[in-house]
């Protein structure tokens, strides 16, 4: 697909994150007959989080297909459909259930191009509602970005705004290889300006959401908003924070992060996945290996999910992942030279 990229004069209006994703899928369905949607309850029911909504009424059940309760089977059909020339978008009800489909995503979709000498490609998009905060407990609240980010052959993105939710989904559709999109469940209702028409948000490019000089916070998905809220409070206290929205876990935007750390000399990585062996570990190591190392004026801090399954108890659920005050405290400690 040779779609034009974003035009600055296009109109934008307020849409929710879920509406922006639906709009992207609607545009794609209307524009390219190879595009199909697959997933459990995405048809008449409208999707577990009502993201596909009325698309089945607009495009019919052949192109908006309910699949049986078998993630492995559904994902396998999607991968096969992509191999034969379609552009399937496969929705998981919860990203947690991707564990059932690992064979298809990791062993098949990610490997085909390599194992067939570049003769084949798998242009499939996996949409994964992810993250905690909805009281859905341990098996429906996980953040698996780092799992999939560990697989060469996949691309992994995490939009934090309605605009990027649409732009990254359209970019994923234009991409010839499998793309995994983590959609944070708490963001579905968040509203924001979304340009009209077809545009793409580049995969592999982070966004500087706020410029600052005292320290850099690299965050993704809902954590971007917590970091921005923390930055507001900290600014009022005299601490000037730069907030980078990672957007893409694989490939990762080295240049933007390294340039920021070279400027500020301090780095906090904030992510919802389990802290150990997570996205923050990769970013920390990347900085330690880069020429930003010589600019570090404090240890790198990681704020990530607790080393435990997400609890059902609402207070414990909150405590298990970084919250705005945690980010504020970490930033103060860094700037005060307490660590």
């Amino acid at each position: 697909m040779n779609a034009p990229t974003r035009h600055p004069e296009v109109q934008s209006r307020e849409l929710s994150y879920a509406e922006a994703i639906r709009e992207a899928m609607g545009l794609a369905l209307a524009r390219d007959e190879r595009v199909i949607l697959m997933g459990e309850d995405i048809g008449v029911y409208g999707g577990a989080f009502q993201v596909t909504g009325d698309l089945v009424e607009r495009f019919g059940p052949d192109r908006v297909r309910d699949t049986p309760i078998s993630e492995l089977g559904g994902a396998g059909v999607a991968v096969g459909a992509a191999l034969t020339g379609l552009r399937p978008i496969f929705e998981f009800q919860f990203s947690d259930f991707a564990t059932l489909a690992m064979e298809q995503i990791v062993n098949q979709a990610a490997k085909m191009r390599y194992m067939l000498g570049g003769e084949a490609s798998v242009p499939v998009v996996f949409r994964m509602p992810s993250g905690s905060g909805t009281g859905a407990a341990a098996q429906h609240s996980q953040s698996f970005e780092a799992w999939f980010g560990h697989v060469p052959g996949l691309k992994v993105v995490q939009p934090s705004t309605p605009e990027d939710a649409k732009g990254l989904l359209l970019a994923a559709l234009e991409d010839p290889d499998p793309v995994v999109i983590f959609e944070h469940k708490l963001l579905y209702k968040m509203k924001g300006h979304v340009p009209e028409g077809w545009y793409t948000t580049p995969i592999g490019k982070a966004a500087v959401r706020r410029t600052g000089r005292d320290l850099t916070i690299v965050a993704s998905a809902i954590m971007v908003h917590r970091a921005l809220a923390a930055a507001e409070t900290l600014a009022a206290e005299g601490i000037d924070v730069e907030v980078i929205d990672l957007r893409s876990v694989r490939p990762i935007d080295r240049e933007t992060i390294i340039a920021s750390v070279r400027k500020t000399g301090r780095l906090i990585c904030v992510y919802e996945g389990v802290r150990t062996l997570g996205v923050g570990a990769e970013i920390s190591a990347m900085i330690a290996e880069s020429d930003a190392f010589d600019y570090l004026d404090a240890p790198i801090l990681r704020l990530g999910g607790a080393e435990a399954p997400i609890p059902y108890n609402p207070d414990l659920e909150k405590a298990a992942v970084p919250q705005t005050p945690d980010i504020e405290t970490a930033a103060r400690r860094l700037v005060r030279k307490e660590v």
Binding site: G212, R213, D214, T233, L234, A235, A236, E237, G238, I239, D240, G265, F293, D294, Y295, L296, D297, A298, R332, V335, R336, K337, E338, V339
Partner: protein, 468 residues
């Protein structure tokens, strides 16, 4: 023969007294009858005269020390007499039981707190066993500090780090480099020359390079220095009345905020950016401990500095500080920033004081003389627009203030019409509040003595408590 200076009994039932201020520094000469030091008892404060003429030495009771009645606090030696290494009378039995004995003879002017607390740089990590290195361990330093030292050809082992466990930070290296290049400290320079005639109304202004201006006045005592941060549209010279009231005991350091006084004009995007410049100026002073005092906008900046640099704080004094609530008289701020002649400045200045008559025509003219720089006024207007959009305080330091652990005093005039004194109620539990009646927004000018007294008490309490 050395004359022993003792803590006299000035009160019927007095058992001990607190040495609050030394008027004469150790090593200086003193004449009999000169004011030598101040003491405070449970009931009163009193000035003690020198019992003899000569050279003051062996001050074993530094400021803030509690001493039993009749104990020696120092000795005065005749001009031609050799001063021995140690104070007469071995252990000198002077200091209070609370003070560690190590600080007694010979420890002239060393604050007990400093003596008791090991210097961070001395506590270097131990050499790992089996190492074949020399016995000098590698100093702790951040990569940025190492890179900066490498570039400058500086030996890190000579530096004292300001980070945790004495870790050398990049700003420690930057200070060392600057100290090398410019050995003389900043001194008082003559004040800004007023422009003879102000042109019509050029609103544009350009940024000026350089760090914030800092002026210092050396003190005669050994207490920690006082760092003063002025308010919006003021400058360091506004502290003159209160400085006089504070006396000569302590070093006084004044910071001119960005776009004010002799500091450069900067485009300020946010309170954070504004405060960061002041934090930088404070860092550059490289103070071991300081009493930080801020007025109005400078109070908000002081809270920010105290929050970010808690280890460099002895106490925090806030005079009608901004940053504790949304309300502010934005009209007056803009009026002052806009005024290009004394006639238009005076009515706004009158709003600052509880008694408008206190703002004389001479006062307004003098204030205008220091505000003749058109570009500075334009920069201040832009600053006010950023910091106080729509006449509202767009920043909130109350959480930062809640984290301040050092002794804290808030001074406010009850008739302050710029910032309501009720904002003081957002201070944390341990803060003490001094409300001055018939005083407006500039207590340090309206009632300098009262402010100096309140702050002096705070400094003494802080230094006494930091020893414990």
């Amino acid at each position: 023969m050395a004359t022993e200076v003792i803590l006299p009994k000035v009160d019927m039932d007095m058992e001990s007294g607190l040495v609050s201020v030394w008027h004469v520094a150790a090593g200086s000469s003193v004449s009999k009858g000169d004011a030598l030091f101040d003491i405070e008892t449970d009931k009163a404060a009193m000035e003690i005269e020198a019992p003899a003429s000569g050279i003051l030495a062996h001050v074993i009771a530094p400021e803030g020390t509690k001493v039993p009645v009749g104990s020696a606090v120092a000795w005065i030696y005749a001009e031609n007499e050799t001063i021995p290494e140690a104070a007469p009378g071995e252990a000198a039995q002077a200091t209070d039981v609370a003070a560690p004995p190590a600080a007694a003879p010979g420890a002239t002017c060393t604050k007990v707190a400093e003596a008791a607390e090991p210097r961070p740089a001395d506590t270097r990590p131990e050499q790992p066993s089996g190492s074949v290195e020399t016995d000098e361990p590698r100093p702790r330093a951040t990569p940025a500090a190492r890179a900066a030292a490498r570039t400058a050809g500086l030996d890190l082992a000579r530096l004292v780090g300001s980070g945790p466990q004495g870790r050398i930070q990049s700003d420690d290296v930057a200070r060392e480099i600057e100290a090398r290049e410019r050995p003389a400290p900043a001194v008082e320079t003559p004040s800004r020359q007023p422009a003879p005639e102000a042109p019509a109304a050029p609103v544009s202004w350009t940024e000026r390079p350089g760090a914030l201006a800092v002026t210092r006045r050396k003190g005669q005592g050994s207490g920690a220095p006082v760092v003063l941060v002025h308010g919006f549209a003021a400058d360091a010279t506004g502290w003159a009345p209160m400085e006089k009231a504070l006396g000569n005991a302590r070093e006084i350091i004044r910071i001119d905020l960005a776009c004010h006084g002799r500091s450069p004009l900067k485009r300020i995007e946010s309170f954070a950016a504004f405060a960061r410049l002041a934090v930088q100026a404070f860092d550059d002073l490289n103070l071991d401990g300081a009493h930080l005092v801020g007025h109005s906008l400078g109070g908000a900046v002081a809270m920010s500095i105290a929050d970010i640099r808690p280890r460099a704080m002895r106490s925090l004094g806030l005079i009608a500080p901004a940053g504790l609530g949304p309300e502010i008289d934005g009209e007056t701020l803009l009026g002052i920033a806009r005024a290009s002649r004394a006639e238009s400045l005076a009515p706004w200045l009158k709003r600052l004081a509880a008694d408008p008559e206190a703002i004389s025509w001479d006062f307004a003219q003098a204030a205008m003389l220091s505000r003749m720089d058109e570009e500075m006024r334009a920069a201040q207007r832009d600053l006010a627009d950023r910091l106080f959009p729509d006449g509202t305080q767009g920043f909130d330091l109350s959480a930062a203030l809640g984290r301040v652990e050092v002794p804290l005093r808030v001074i406010w005039g009850k008739q302050d019409s710029i910032l309501p004194w009720r904002h003081a109620l957002r201070a944390p539990d341990h803060a003490s509040l001094t409300l001055l009646d018939k005083v407006g927004h500039i207590p340090h000018i309206e009632r300098p003595q009262a402010c100096a007294k309140a702050l002096g008490e705070l400094f003494v309490i802080a230094e006494a408590s930091s020893r414990g």
